[in-house]
C-alpha cells in the first residue's frame, strides 16, 4: 500500500524542500521504499538538497511527456538504497505538468511497490502546488512561527480540504499534519516569535514536529546532505522524531526550551 505525502506551505522559504528531503531520508532509513518528487518545475532545488544535481539526466517533465521511462529518470540515492529522487525540469515552466501525466507517474510508482511517495510542492497555490497536493493521502504543512507563514498555511489547509482528489471524492479527505520549522525558543520566550501553542491554536491542528532554528540546516543544504543525516544536529533529531510520528509512534515534542549547556550534552551529546 503506497502512501502519497505532500509537503506544502503556501509561503516560500519556510523549509519545504529541506523537509521533503529529510522526511524522505528518514522514511528510507527505516527501510521504507521512498520516491521523492520535485514539483517545482523551472526552479528545481530538491536535487541540490539531496546532493544529486550532477546525476540528473532526465526529469519529471521528460517522464510525463514520454521522452524517457520512469526508471531512467529516477535517481537512486547513494546513501540510502531504498530512496529515489525524481528531479524537476529546470528548462520548462509549470504548464508542462498535467493532472493526467502526474497521475500516470504516481500510478507507475505505486505499481512498482513504493511505500511512500513524497511530493515536494512549490510555493504558491498555482498549478504546481495544486498538482503536488491533488493526489495526496497525507499532507505535511510546513510553517514558520510568524504571522504571514501561518496565514498562508491556513489558506493551504483550506485548499487541502477542498481541491484534492480525496476531498472531491469525499473519502475522508487528506490527513493533515503541521510541522514547525525555524523554531527559536529564545525568541519565543522573549515574545518575538509565535509559540507552538499559538500556531496550534490558530490552525487548529496537531503538530507532528518542531524543528529548531539551526545553522546545520544551511550547512546541510549547501553540502547536499539532508540535515536529518547529520546525527549531531538538533534539527536532525527533530526531523527523525517527526518521521517516527508520521509512522504512528507517540513521542513527546522536544527542543521547545532554550538549550541549557551541559544538560543537553548529557542528553543528546555524542
Amino acid at each position: 500500500m503506497t502512501e502519497i505525502i505532500v509537503v506544502t506551505s503556501g509561503k516560500g522559504g519556510v523549509g519545504k524542500t529541506t523537509t521533503s528531503a529529510s522526511v524522505a531520508c528518514g522514511l528510507a532509513r527505516r527501510g521504507k521504499r521512498v520516491a521523492v518528487i520535485d514539483f517545482d518545475i523551472g526552479l528545481r532545488n530538491l536535487d541540490l538538497i539531496m546532493g544529486c544535481e550532477r546525476r540528473v539526466v532526465y526529469d519529471f517533465v521528460n517522464v510525463i511527456q514520454g521522452d524517457c521511462t520512469l526508471k531512467q529518470a529516477l535517481i537512486r540515492d547513494k546513501r540510502l538504497e531504498t530512496l529515489h529522487v525524481l528531479a524537476a525540469s529546470q528548462t520548462r515552466d509549470k504548464d508542462a505538468l498535467t493532472a493526467e501525466g502526474v497521475r500516470r507517474v504516481l500510478d507507475e510508482l505505486i505499481a512498482d511497490g513504493f511505500d511512500y511517495i513524497v511530493c515536494d510542492s512549490p510555493a504558491g497555490i498555482e498549478k504546481g502546488a495544486h498538482l503536488a497536493m491533488y493526489y495526496a493521502d497525507r499532507a505535511v504543512v510546513v510553517v514558520n512561527p510568524e504571522v504571514s507563514s501561518v496565514r498562508d498555511s491556513d489558506r493551504i489547509l483550506g485548499l487541502l480540504a477542498s481541491k484534492t482528489q480525496r476531498a472531491e471524492q469525499g473519502n475522508g479527505g487528506v490527513k493533515e499534519h503541521l510541522l514547525l520549522t525555524r523554531y527559536n525558543p529564545r525568541r519565543v520566550a522573549s515574545g518575538e516569535m509565535m509559540s507552538v501553542d499559538d500556531v496550534k491554536e490558530i490552525l487548529g491542528l496537531d503538530v507532528i514536529g518542531v524543528v529548531p532554528e539551526s545553522p546545520d540546516v544551511l550547512a546541510a543544504s549547501n553540502s547536499g546532505v539532508p540535515v536529518i543525516l547529520n546525527d549531531e544536529s538538533d534539527a536532525s533529531l527533530a526531523y527523525d522524531d517527526a518521521v517516527a510520528r508520521l509512522l504512528g509512534e507517540n513521542l513527546p515534542l522536544r527542543f521547545l526550551e532554550e538549550p541549557k549547556r551541559g544538560f543537553f550534552a548529557r542528553m543528546f551529546g555524542g
Binding site: 544535481e53 539526466v57 528548462t91
Partner: protein
C-alpha cells in the same frame, strides 16, 4: 466609455502580411502503412535527437508507397506519427487519390521533391551537417539556469558563462568562452563532426550527435581547464586544450 486601443489611433498597420517563403521541412517517407512499425521506428528517431524531432512539423511522403492508400488506412498512420511526437503538416503524393486524402485528413498536398523522391534511403535524412553558411549564433549574455540557447543549423558561441541547469545547444559546434557549468549539446541534428569547446570545464552533461556523458564528478584532469569534446566513432572523448 472605453478608450480606443493605442494601435487604432496610430496609422493603421495591417493585421497580417502574406508572403511567399521557404521553410525546411522533414519528409517522412511512408513505405508501409503499418502504424505499429511506423511508431516503433519514429519513436527511435525522436529519442535519438528529441530536441530536433519533438513537435517538429513533418510532411508525409506517399510517393514511395507505390499505391493509393485509403483514408481509413491513413488515419492510424497519422496517429502513429503524432504519438511519436511529430506533427504532420502536409502530404506529398502524385496519385489522383491525393485530393480526397487531403480533404479527409485536412492536410494540404505539397509539391513533391523530385530529386529525392526515388532514392531508397532511410526515412529521415540523419546527420544534417551545419554547413548552411550561416554565421555562428553569438550569445554575449550569460546563459542562466533554466535557459536554453539553440543555434539551428550553425555553431553557437557563448562569450559568457553557461550556468548550472542551463543548456547551450547547436546543430554545429558549441564554443563557450567562459565557464561551462551546465549542459552543452553539439551536433543536435546528428552531425558527428561537431565539437564542444569551453574555457573552463565544469559541465554537468556534454553531448555530441546524441552521444552524451554525465559528469557526476569532474575528472581532475579536466576540471576548470579549457577542454574540448569530440566524437571518436561511438566514443565521446575529452581532452584539455592547449599546452
Amino acid at each position: 466609455m472605453m478608450t480606443k486601443p493605442v494601435e487604432a489611433a496610430a496609422a493603421p498597420a495591417p493585421a497580417i502580411d502574406v508572403r511567399f517563403g521557404q521553410v525546411g521541412l522533414i519528409q517522412v517517407r511512408i513505405r508501409s502503412t503499418d502504424p505499429g512499425a511506423i511508431l516503433d521506428e519514429l519513436t527511435g528517431r525522436v529519442a535519438s535527437a528529441p530536441l530536433f524531432f519533438q513537435r517538429t512539423g513533418v510532411c508525409l511522403d506517399l510517393t514511395v508507397l507505390g499505391r493509393e492508400p485509403q483514408v481509413e488506412e491513413m488515419r492510424p498512420v497519422m496517429d502513429a506519427v503524432r504519438r511519436a511526437g511529430m506533427l504532420p503538416v502536409g502530404l506529398v503524393g502524385e496519385s489522383a487519390a491525393m485530393e480526397s486524402l487531403s480533404a479527409a485528413l485536412e492536410l494540404p498536398v505539397l509539391a513533391p521533391f523530385r530529386g529525392q523522391a526515388q532514392a531508397a534511403v532511410p526515412v529521415v535524412q540523419p546527420a544534417e551537417r551545419a554547413e548552411s553558411g550561416l554565421p555562428a549564433l553569438m550569445q554575449h549574455q550569460p546563459v542562466r539556469s533554466g535557459q536554453r540557447v539553440y543555434a539551428r543549423s550553425r555553431d553557437l558561441v557563448v562569450t559568457a558563462t553557461v550556468g548550472a541547469g542551463a543548456e547551450a545547444i547547436a546543430d554545429g559546434c558549441v564554443h563557450v568562452y567562459g565557464s561551462l557549468r551546465g549542459r552543452a549539446v553539439a551536433g543536435a541534428r546528428g552531425d558527428t563532426g561537431a565539437r564542444v569547446f569551453c574555457q573552463e570545464f565544469r559541465a554537468e552533461l556534454v553531448s555530441v550527435a546524441g552521444v552524451f556523458r554525465v559528469f557526476e564528478t569532474l575528472p581532475p584532469e579536466l576540471a576548470g581547464k579549457p577542454v574540448q569534446a569530440w566524437l571518436d566513432g561511438d566514443d565521446l572523448r575529452f581532452a584539455p586544450l592547449g599546452g
